[in-house]
Symmetry: C2
DNA sequence: AATAAAAATTAATGTACCTTAAGAATACAA
DNA sequence: TTGTATTCTTAAGGTACATTAATTTTTATT
């Protein structure tokens, strides 16, 4: 049922007993959002960590001048939140919006702290999750600094084919840090 | 003595007993490196996680065409390694080199696993460490995508004044993703 | 199906930043 | 202290990418 995906996601890294699993799932809230709905608005407090059961989300930062920068995409089986705002209880620095109808599991920070306290295995699980997220971001930084846009696009397409199928070119452009017009000329060259 | 800094660093987030602290420090190896010495070479295996007692290190990626991109700097009280290579036992994607004479504590992956197993509090500590590193990298990505070089420089200087004192303009330029020549024209405008 | 709205493309022009090259300042080694 | 390397700066010319604007294509709405 609705907890299968999230439990198997966690199960890749730690083994939970029945009791632990049911304590954990008792803290989850199901949320359904329609396409274009906001899961989080920039400057608001970010009260939840989200796990995607289905659908697609996009996190993006908006500058004063209205420029959008895509921070990340999430599809089924991914975790997403504004980690800065969520863990520091600060106004969020990004929006999270549904690219298509999506189903999410929500976990509040107080509940997450309870879970960490009661089931230390979850510290391990989140350590691994954060470690992988850190590595992903660091490799992205390296690529942004060292590669021209054309190669960044090629690598994005081959690394995230499932995402490419779901999101617009405009959204990919804002993830890569180029305009949609320029991405279009890049693609013509292929 | 030599363990004071690292223990107080850890103590900010978890409280260790005497026995735990001494088990932990028993796994640490002291290393001294001279200015310009390599702590890690790109493509080599990355066998250690490092904590800086003193000095300054710089991690940078080198492209086939010889272009350097600075991934991060580390000064006293910072942790540093090629986290991708270290945790996945893969060839490293970056070099780590001493900007000045430095003293480090080294921890191997097998020892770190022992520590995690024996003292679960260390899972929590590293969860927090990875979480902060992830947030730092994500905010950097946002800034790289949304701000022009001149503002990225200003923010770097105000966020990391202690690092600015230690490293060259050329190294800062390669962290910001601009050439030293262009950084020079930016600085003239201040 | 018709209309509206958003995305994608194309092309002309513009600019932030790069490349090359040379000179000046700073640090390093003999 | 002198020479040598490295960094930093300045300036001219070049390029990757942005901006603007118009057209086409795709998607969403009634």
């Amino acid at each position: 049922m609705q907890y299968d995906l999230i439990l198997s996601n966690i199960g890749k890294y730690v083994k939970l007993t029945e009791a632990e699993a049911s304590f954990f799932t008792s803290k989850l809230q199901l949320k359904e959002v329609g396409k274009k709905a906001y899961v989080l608005q920039q400057n608001e407090r970010c009260r939840h960590l989200y796990f995607l059961n289905s659908g697609t989300l996009r996190a993006f930062h908006l500058t004063a001048r209205g420029k959008e920068s895509t921070v990340m995409f999430a599809i089924a089986d991914w975790w997403i939140t504004d980690m800065y705002a969520f863990t520091n209880d600060q106004p969020s620095v990004m929006n999270i919006k549904a690219v298509e109808d999506s189903q999410l599991m929500c976990l509040s920070y107080p509940d997450l702290e309870l879970i960490w306290e009661k089931i230390p295995k979850f510290e391990k699980f989140f350590r691994i999750l954060m470690q992988k997220a850190y590595v992903r971001e660091q490799l992205r930084s390296i690529q942004n600094l060292s590669l021209p846009a054309t190669e960044r696009y090629d690598r994005f397409v081959s690394k995230y084919p499932a995402i490419v199928k779901k999101v617009t070119k405009k959204q990919i452009a804002s993830y890569l840090g180029v305009t949609p017009e320029f991405l279009s000329t890049i693609r013509k060259e292929r």
